[in-house]
């Protein structure tokens, strides 16, 4: 059936600065698959577990002690909104993983609240991802993933796990929360990899 709704345009889409199928928003929509965890920084920790089972651990003061970067990036949500030039502060995964001994190809990000998402390890390195704890010069709000979230802006934003608590590195690719329910295992917005098989 091909019914066109007369006069319906939907949110304005397109523009050369946007990936295909995205529309521009100036708001910051809150998407959530569950209740918002409220993790106090004194209880917060971030761990990296390697394929051999070795665990590296940072608490909040340890994260704060690491060199932070100011990040300005466009973000693209698979629900079709894009937001340009968002500003963050956080620690590069290059810094966190510098002393981690691993030959793994894949990472699974785990969050407080149970969310997971999978990424190739190489997409977390070389200045492509951060553990972000400030947005727009303010501490990251819990509804946007505070106290700290993963930020991987070159992939659809579901990969930027809110309330991140750790990475588990592996030689094999496992699928995360949305990736096991039909979303693309990689999620490149410029190739419009929304769903499995795209």
């Amino acid at each position: 059936m091909n019914i066109v709704s007369p006069g319906f345009t939907g949110r304005r889409r397109g523009g050369t600065e946007l990936p295909p199928g995205q529309y521009l928003t100036h708001e910051f929509p809150v998407l959530s698959a569950g209740p918002t965890p409220h993790v106090r920084t004194e209880h917060w920790e971030f761990t990296v577990t390697t394929e051999s089972g070795e665990m590296y651990r940072w608490d909040w003061p340890a994260l704060m002690a690491l060199p932070a970067e100011e990040i300005t990036k466009d973000i693209h949500c698979v629900t079709r909104w894009s937001k340009l030039q968002t500003t963050w502060k956080g620690v590069s995964l290059d810094t966190l993983l510098a002393d981690v001994e691993t030959g793994a190809d894949y990472a699974m990000a785990h969050s407080y609240g149970g969310y997971t998402t999978n990424l190739p390890l190489e997409d977390l390195l070389d200045g492509q991802s951060w553990i972000a704890y400030e947005y727009d010069d303010e501490p990251l709000d819990p509804e946007h993933g505070g106290p700290a979230r993963l930020l991987v802006p070159h992939l659809y934003f579901w990969k930027s796990a809110k309330w991140v608590r750790g990475l588990v590195l592996s030689d094999t690719e496992d699928l995360g929360f949305w990736e096991t329910a039909g979303y693309h295992e990689y999620g490149d917005p410029w190739k419009e990899q929304r769903y499995a098989g795209d």
Binding site: M1, I3, P6, F8, G10, T79
Partner: protein, 250 residues
């Protein structure tokens, strides 16, 4: 309604807008003729799907506002600020336009005239829409079941179905009580949300064995459901439906 009418997989079908009625500054009722419609129960909802010229689609769920009497169905849509679908339905769609719908759906938040015991309806804002369908079904069946509606609105201008509710309330078996949270009309001293006092004063008592239907934004529904349970109502006889704006197109 025959069970067979809902025991099938649903697909999208096309209705035509035959009339529109402005209810408030931000809400409009659409009257639709849907040739394939197989009827619905009061309280059920349907999904509306819009398609742009370039194939872009957005869909949302709306409660049916009318009882099924064999001809048309009505939807009442409240405009969501910065929404995508509701502004189109409230301001753009016109008589004669097609509208794609899928339904009816939902088998829990429904009332049928055969149901035993009194019926208590509690609505917040446009949460009154499915409750109005229940009162319409009550009237259409000339039911003598006792029905009460508690309808919470911000101010007098926010009331939808003003004349309709007056007409329904004229029945000896139906009682309608409006609750104003921000501004009340002259002669109404009470301004404030539904609270325990109001429930004990205007709702059926737990021993009356009523089934209660609560519909509105999530915080409203949570508050009212908690008040009912705290007042001794059986949680199994409290049915709820929550709505809210959605973050983006799906």
């Amino acid at each position: 309604m025959e069970r067979t009418a809902i025991r099938r997989r649903l697909t999208w079908q096309v209705g035509t807008v035959t009339d529109v009625r402005r209810e408030t500054e931000t809400a409009r009722t659409l009257v639709l003729e849907v040739p394939e419609w197989q009827g619905h129960l009061a309280g059920q909802h349907l999904d509306v799907r819009l398609t742009a010229e370039d194939g872009y689609r957005a869909s949302r769920s709306y409660s049916v506002a009318s009882a099924w009497t064999g001809d048309t169905i009505e939807l009442t849509v409240e405009q969501v600020p910065r929404g995508e679908v509701s502004p189109y339905l409230v301001d753009v769609l016109k008589v004669g336009d097609p509208l794609e719908i899928r339904g009816p759906v939902g088998g829990w938040f429904v009332w049928t005239p055969e149901q035993e015991g009194p019926v208590q309806l509690i609505g917040g804002g446009s949460g009154v829409v499915p409750l109005r369908a229940m009162l319409r079904a009550h009237a259409a069946a000339a039911s003598t079941t006792k029905a009460r509606l508690l309808y919470s609105v911000r101010r007098p201008e926010s009331v939808i179905y003003v004349s309709d509710l007056k007409e329904l309330a004229a029945s000896d078996d139906v009682d309608v009580r409006l609750v104003y949270t921000r501004e009340a009309p002259a002669g109404e001293p009470r301004i404030g949300r539904i609270d325990a006092d109001l429930i004990s004063q205007y709702a059926f008592k737990p021993e009356d064995g009523a089934t209660t239907y609560v519909c509105g934004p999530t915080p409203f529904v949570e508050t009212v459901a908690d008040l009912l349970v705290a007042a001794g109502h059986d949680p199994a006889k409290v049915r709820t439906e929550r709505f809210g704006p959605t973050g983006g197109p799906r």
